[in-house]
Structure formats: structure tokens, C-alpha cells
Amino acid sequence: MSSMDAIAEPSAGRVPDRDQVIKLAILAVGGQGGGVITSWIVDLAERNGWYAQSTSVPGVAQRTGATVYYVEMVPEGEGTPVLGMMPAPGDVDVVLASELMEAGRAIQRGFVSPDRTTLIFSTDRTLAVSEKIVPGDGIADALPVMEAAKEVAKDVRAARLEQLALQNGSVISASLFGALAGSGVLPFARESFEQTIEASGRGVKASLRAFAAGFDAVQVRDGIVEETPAVDAPDIIEPKPAGPVVAGPEKMRRAWQALLDRIHAEFPQAAHGMLLPGLKKVVDFQDVKYGEEYLNRLTKVLEVDKAAGGEGEGYDFTATAAKYVANAMAYDDVIRVADLKTRGSRFERVNAEVRATPEQLVEITEFMHPRLEEICGILPASLGRGILAREGLSKRLDRLINKGRRVRTDTIRGFVTLYAIGSLRGYRRRTLRHQIEVAHLEEWLKLACDTVRDDYQLGVEVLRARRLIKGYSDTHVRGEAKFDRVLSAVPLLKGREDAATWLHRLIDAALKDEKGTMLDGALKTIRTL
């Protein structure tokens, strides 16, 4: 093999047949079938008279972690070609990524180059643990990856390939293989891709459907095809003048319409986007009368807002209050949970989620764990308070109550139990929990109103702190503690020009970790200001 006739002039720079090699890197999350698509690509190449070599790093790396497969192929010729064992930055022709952030990882690792790389990926996300455990919103921003993909790749082909596979009863390897075929980057006909799938012999029909869907989805060169992402910013929400579609007794519907009319008559347009869903939430939680109470609160808020110069601020204070007052009024008590769990629409949703066909039955088990606090919460205020005040009694009762309960809501017994609890709505206003929630709400709203008079943005941030209160039992207690700690900074911040910015930062910090370590750090900083 020491003959040198094939050697090019060193100055020529490139060896003639080097460019015939096609190099593909496949980035996947362990368990996503990266091995399947790799073996398909090898089969495809061999089927077309090419020499193919694949390598991978299986083992522990595959257990839900990021992993890379690699294939090189070259037209069959004399002797065995010498091919690379792993992808090298700047030296990859095709990158397939089964998940959006893995496409990002490919870019980060330098596998995507502007002069040669076709980047094919699924825009669907498989979230990493670090994104899920954040108490707030920890989901990584997709935009930088999308932009980088367009900037760095020679050609991008991306679509919701995971979703397409699911819709066709298959898995991502099939739709991704379809996208590879659809991109036209390999010199092989569509039929031979399909033959490869057929030869694999498992779930062929579904795989072929997913393949076709993937093929069609990436027909646009340099295209990232995805549905418009959901927006949650209040100012982007278009007001819906008609209001939610509603059914029920005529009298209630008229009362409801009156509340809607009141929103349109009394409140600035800027706040409608939050007032409408807010009103719906509280009415759904309790009754129309409760909706009226909601609007009464907001009317007072609007007065304060106007006095504080809200017009110039786009009535941000009112809109923010519309959101968080609704959340505060529709607190999570046992009655609400029982009500939500026994609704007809809920059973329909569960059936759809588990994809049950009409011939199949669905049995539903709820995982409940009430504590004495929850039970006392739905007792008449004085009684509940009386029990909780007696330590010995509380302890004994808690031992009886505080245990995990599995409730089968598809059975008559389980359903009726929860239905009965849900039917306590009418008496809710007299419960201990309601009293506690109202007191808490009023105190917070007063602080916000007092604050907004001197510092508009700070007042808005006081409202936003309500976001910290969520969860049940211990988590709820922790959330409330964070809320208190954040608001404890308001007196310290008052009068500072950057007060609102600081409070905003505190809220963000409180959402970063469970125990509030970052929040403590931020609070310490504030005390030294």
C-alpha cells in the first residue's frame, strides 16, 4: 500500500476523491432511536452501492443523555476506504438533530459550517432536567438556536418532526429519515429510502407514513417550519369583545353579559386582555356575584391607577391587577380541585390525552393527600380556627386525615365524594380558607395601591409578586414565605429611582430555586444599598 501514484501534488491542496465522501453526524437524546436511523443510513448507502461506515458511543451515554452517531459513505471502489471515526468540526456535510437544542449543540460543537453543512432538525423540544426543575419558567429560549441555524448552516431544513411522527403513530427516527430524504442532500432516490424502511420489518406502515410526513415538511430550502408559538405577554393579546362562549340559566347569562358590558364601558381597552379571562376565571371559580366583586375591586384599582397617572403608563397597573387579583380570588382550595376533577369536559380531556378509542374504557385514579389544614380550610371559619388553635386535638385529627388517598373518579363512590365536595361552592364564602385568602388579598392590594401613588412601576411590581404564590401544602407555604420576603423589601426600596428594577430582580431571583437561596442573596445586597 506504499504506492504513491494516487498522491496529489501537495500544493493542489485537496485530494481529488476526498470530496466524494459524505459525512453525516446524528445528534440525539438517548432513547430517541439514533441507533435506528444510523443503521438505516448505512443500509441505504449499501443499497445504492456505496461503502458506509458508522460509529457510535453507546453505553451509559445513551441513558437520556445527549449522544452522537456518525456515518461516512463513499462510492464503492478498489480497496477499503479509510474513514473517520468521529465527526470533526468544520468537516461534516449533514447534521441530523432529533431535537431543537441538540441542533444547537451541533452548532456549538462546530459541526455545522456555512460552506457545506445541511442542518436537518426537529423543532420539537425534549426538555432537559435543568429546564424543568426551576420553580419559575426555566425553558431555554429557542430563538437563538433558530437564528444561529439560519446563520451558520449552508441549508436548514427543520420542522416539527417529533410531532409528525406521533401523529402518524411512529417515532422520530422515521420522520427524521423522511426529512433527510426530503432535503435531497443525499444522491439517493426516495424509493430506496422507503425500501430501507420496508426491509427493517417493524412497524413499517406507520414508519412510512411518518417518513412521508417528514419528507413533505422540509421541502422549503432554508426553511424552519413551525406553528406560531403561544404568546403570553398581556399587551399582545387581542381583546375579544364578544367574551367567552357561555351556557347556563338565562338569568345568569344576563348578569354575565352585564359584567362584560361593564368592562367595555368602564375600563380602558389596554386592560381588557386581562380583565376578560380574569372575570371568566373568578366566575368559573365561584359565581356571577363573585365576578361582580372582582370588577368592584378592579374599579377601585382603576381609580388609583388614574390618580397615579396610569393613562401615560398604558394602565399597566390595572391590567396587572386584573391578572393577579383574578388568580388570588380563584385560590386553590379543596372545593375547586373537586369541582375541576368532576367536570364532564375534564373526562373528555383525559380520554383524549390517553388516546382512548370509544371501544376502550378509561379508569381514573386521583392521587389526593389532604392534610388537616385543608379540611379545616373548608369548615366554617370559627370552627376551623378553633380546631387549629388546639394543638392536641389538631394532632389527633391530623393523624386521621393526613394520608394519601386514591380516589377512583370513574366509580360512583369516588365520583360522588368529589362531586359533593365540589358542590360546597355555595357556602365557600363562609369557610376559614376564604377568610384567610380575602384578608391576604386585601392587604397585598392595599400595599400595591399605596405604593403606586409614589412610584408607578414599583406598584406594578408589588402586584407581580403575587406570581410567587402557588402550589399546595408545603410548596404553598414556601411560596408565601418568598412572597413575604420579597415584599419586605418594599419599604427599603421606596424612594429609590431603581426601586422597581430591584423588586423585579427579587421576583426573578425567587423563581430561580426552590429554597430561595438566590433571593436571600439579592435581599442581602439590597440591605447594603
Binding site: 476526498r18 465522501v21 444561529a148 351556557a247 379571562p277
Partner: protein, 715 residues
Amino acid sequence: MAERSFAKEVQQLRIGEGEEFRGEGILAVTKALLECGVGYVGGYQGAPISHLMDVLSDAEEILEELGVHFEQSGSEAVAGATLAASVHYPIRGAVTFKSPVGTNVASDALANLSSGGVTGGALIIIGEDYGEGASIMQERTHAFAMKSQLWLLDPRPNLESIVKSVRDGFELSEASNTPVMLEMRIRACHVHGRFIAKDNVRPTMSLADALENPKRDLNRIVLPPASFLHEKEKVESRWPNAVNFIKERGLNEFFGGDGKIGIVLQGGMYNGVIRALQRLGLADIRGNTEVPLYVLNVTYPLIDDEFLDFARDKDAVLVVEEGQPNHIEQAFGAMLHKAGVDTKLFGKDPFPIAGEYTGTVMLDSIRGFLLENAPGLLTAADRAPNRPQTELPDLSKTVPPRPPGFCVGCPERPIFAGMKLVQEELGEHHVAADIGCHLFSIMPPFNIGGSTMGYGLGPASASAFNVKAKKRPISVMGDGGFWHNGLSTGVTNAVFNKHDGVILIVDNYYSAATGGQDIPSSRADNKSRSTAHPITEAVKGVGAKWVRQIDRTYDVTKVRDTFREALTTDEKGPKIIVASSECMLNRQRREKPQLAKAISGGERVVKPKFGVDEDVCTGDHACMRLSGCPSLSVKELDDPLRDDPVASIDQNCVGCGNCGEVADAAVLCPSFYRADVVHNPTAWDKRMAGIRRRVSSWLQKRRDSRRLVFAAEGA
């Protein structure tokens, strides 16, 4: 039941002379063993050679036909000791394990084997777990070859070379009466390629022949005075014999032309070096190059005169040797010095001292070497590359890290959720972790475990903490580690020393981390192995008194309570908790096809799946911090009143129950529900469901008629 089945692929092991084999590296090795007339094979699983064990296991029928004995060794030490069958008898044997960890475990046996020497060819196939994807400390096997003076092959990573190396290895072993190690790097094990096969050969002497006609030779036993003779024998006869064989048979290869510079490389580095030369325009796709290459398919022993002949008339030689320390480069340096040759030697400069030789490292280092020593070979562009092509966009803050973790439905997740809960009550404890899937506990969301000292050594690594204190140490090991050595090093040792700590044994019915191989406590029926030996019986057998068996790890409350008891009981001695549930990956692989068949056959089948009521979930993600299940994720709701995404369970959910149990044990929230889908319901099922539905929908209608009901859409 192993993670991957090779039942189809192993049929290729039957092909004969002249036929073409296509497949993975490890399968090619198996075929080569059969072509070489191997008499017995053994080994212990572990990446990257787990699949080699699985292949052998799936090929048992073919092995039997040829009269080849296959043994799934209890540990690498067992595998190493198995080669003792080749000491007195001319029977070829091969064992396999991952390195260097397996080599560490086996090194006592290998040292004894090397001392006495072998008669039949003895081959140790080493899966080198180095570089990207490695799950162990980064060390070199090379030092083992040096210390025990056994030979190390490092073939070029293509199937033809690997297969040839197996053949060469047996012959070299026999020619020098020395065991031989064949090193396969992680990617070479899984490389897909091809080679032309030969016929399989039956072993010339069977193990039964040997048993019936036993031999012994005092000179081969490691005991003075023979052991002193062995040391001499190694240098006086075995080494020279090996060197002669390697030279005569041309095991090392020379490529390229004559030139003033040259590259010496480990065989395993060949493709990487050629790729770098291809990128520099100095090699073609078939590997033809003008640059002189000396490829060490044998990296130990080194052949002095081969190297000196290669280096003597050159200005500079580059050694491509991955990993550190740079044993080969040092040896070459000494050779040049002693021979008075002034060729300049390069190695760890320009190459980095530590780390994998990736494509970029190869290209940059070889270019650097050529630039300094033979700039004429490089193009102008490579001599002075215009670096700042395009700046890579910085995605380091966007792309989240994605380390490996527990699979969907993994039964080990609830164990660590339970531990996390008990630590919330009793405070943080010292936790000695171990090798195995359970080591994923050290990462978020659990953050449990502070050390690993080696497979099965979790409890042993808590030995020092046998003192009076307000907290007890907790140590962990898996069932794999337990049978590997943990029973003696962990449990027996703890009983003997009256250790007061808590020992958790995670029993998932398999050696799961290595791909689901059976072990003594497996519950599966295994035709060729004896299984179903309970771990609790074993620990009681060695004297443990406080032993608890948890038979469903998904019962988080029970796990938590058992831990609390173990950490607070007054009872002396080790507190042993055996937490058992089947590895979900394996269970799914076994049950899925069965269930699908039952459903299509019209049988009544209940399939569980978990869900979250999104209007009940408040988006605090407390459940995620006790789970980390890939199937339990978060999603954004199209609701302007919500700031944070809510929990959501995707289609991959296997209904293990962890979410619901955690929500219950930690008193999290009532959002979780289990939906059991009844396939092919019976007439009775349907009737009951009909009655229930009538009652509930009557009640629902009654309630809806008394309040406002909003349509699902709109807000």
C-alpha cells in the same frame, strides 16, 4: 434479557471461507474467535464490550455446535482467572471486559497468569473506555501490559485489521507463552464495516479432554522458586520470542514513502491520522500517502530496531499516542538516546498531554508538526490558515447540558425521591455512591451521593465512617455490584466490623447499566444460568440482622419510612435495605410485544398512563424536583393569566406511578391522575361503565344547569 438482541446478526457467525461479513466490530471479533478455533470464552459486561458479551450469549447455540464453552463470568477477576485453562493445556481461550476498570479487577489473576505463562493462546479483549462517552476515570491499559509483561495489540480500527489481530494475538501468545491483550477503542467496538470470512474451526483439544487427562507442571505455578524463574523467563525467552514473531510476521505496518519526517502511531489512531492527512491534502481516501507512517498494531512490546530503522535517517518523528503518561514516546526517547541517534522526537508537544485525540486535535497537532519540520508539504493555506472564518454563535447560555440520567419509568428514581424526602426531615447525610445506573442520583434533581470508589465498593467506601456520631453514613450499590464483589467487600466486611451504617442495595433484576444482563438475583428464567437467588438470603447468610426488602420501589412512602427507620433504629450492625423493582427498559422490551399481541388477540388488557390536570397544576414544579422523569415535562399554556409552564406527561409514559406516589408522599398537589385504559373490555366492564357514566353525567348536567359553563376555547 439483554438490552439489545443480536439473535439475527449472529447468524453471520456461520458464514464460511470467502463469504463477506458485514456488521459491527464486536461481532467481527466473535467471528474471528471461531475462525481461530477458540476452546472457551468468558468475560464480564461493561461498555464498550457489553455487546460482545450479548453477542456471545445470543450465539450460544452456534458456540455449542462448535464445542466452544461460553461462560458469563461473575467478575473480571473471574474472567482473568478463567484463562488458567490455557496454562497447561494447548487450548485457546479468550475473555473480555472493559478497561481499565475491569483490568484493575482482573489484574491479580492476569499477573499470576503472566508469571507462569501459557501453553494455549490466551487472549484478553479489552474494551477501552476512553474519550467521549466514557463512564469511568481516564487511564491507560498500557501500564498493565508493562507491569505484568503481557503483550498489547492495538489494531487499526477496521474490521479486516481487527479480525487479523485476533488471529495474530493467539499465535503471538503461543509463540511467546504469554497472554495477549487486544485493545478495542469505544468506536472500534461499534464500527460498522466488512471483511472476508474464513471457515469456523473446532478447537483441537476440548476442555473435556483436558479434564479427563489432567496435567500439572510445578514450573508453571507461581510459588518460589518457580516465580523467580518466571521473571527471568519473561526477559530471556518470552520477550525475545515475541519480538521475533512480531518482526517476522510484520504485525506492525509501514506506509508512505521516504521522507525526512515520519509519524509513529498506535494502530487505533490510524483513521484519525489519515483523516488529518486527507484534510491537509497529503492522503487519499484509500489511505495512500507520501508521509512515512509506522503503525504500531502492537504497542507493547516495542520493537527497538524497527523504530530505530524508521527514525534513523529522518530529521523528526512524531509519536501519536493517546492518553497519558506517554509511555511509548518515553521509550522511543530512550531508544534514540542509547543508539546515539539525533532525530528529533515529537509527541505530547504538539499534541496535548491529556484528552482524546479528536479530529481537531489531530489536524492541529499534525499540521503543527509539519509546519515546524516539513513546511514544504503544506499548502500555503495550511501553512498560514486564515483563521477567523466565521465566528460561531455563542449558544453556551442557551443549550442546556444533557447528562445521562434515569430512563422513563426507572424504578431507581423513586428510591432517590424517598431518600431526598428523608433527608429533608433528618438533614443531609454522607452518601457513598457506587458505579451503576443509580449513580445518576448524584445529578439534579436528586443531588445525592458524594463519592464512587469502584464497582460494588460503595459500602466499602463508607468503612471509615464506623464511628459514634449523630448521623449514620448511607452507602449504595447495585445488584450488579453486589454480586461482582459487594457481598464480601461491602456487606460481609460491614457485618464483621460491626459497621453501624445503612447499606442500600438497588436490585433491578439485571446488571442494568451494562445493558440488562442476567445476574444471580435476576428473576428471569435463564436456560443456561441459575437465577432467582435473593440478595436478602445472601446478606442474612453472611450474618446481617437488620434486613428490609422493598418489593415495589415505586412506593415512595415506604421507601422514605424504611430509610427513616434505618437511620434512627437502635439496632446495631449494618442496616441493609434491598430495594427491588424490575429495570423498566428491560420490562418494556419484554412486555410491550406481549401486550400488543394480547390486545390484538382480543384479550382484556389494562394499560396505565399518568396525567396532570393542567388547571389544577399551579406550575411550581415541585414534582420535577423529586422526579426528573423524561416523560414528565412542562408545557406553556395558552392562558394569559398564567406566568409559568405547567407539568405535563408525554406519550412515552409507561405508567410506573412515580409521579403519583411522589405527589402523595411529599404532599405535593392533587394534579396527578392515573388513567388505566382497558383494552377489549368485558361485557361486565361495559355494563358497569355504562351505569357509572349515567350517574355521573346526570350529576354533571344537574350542576351545569345551575351555573355558567364556559366553552373550553377562548378566554
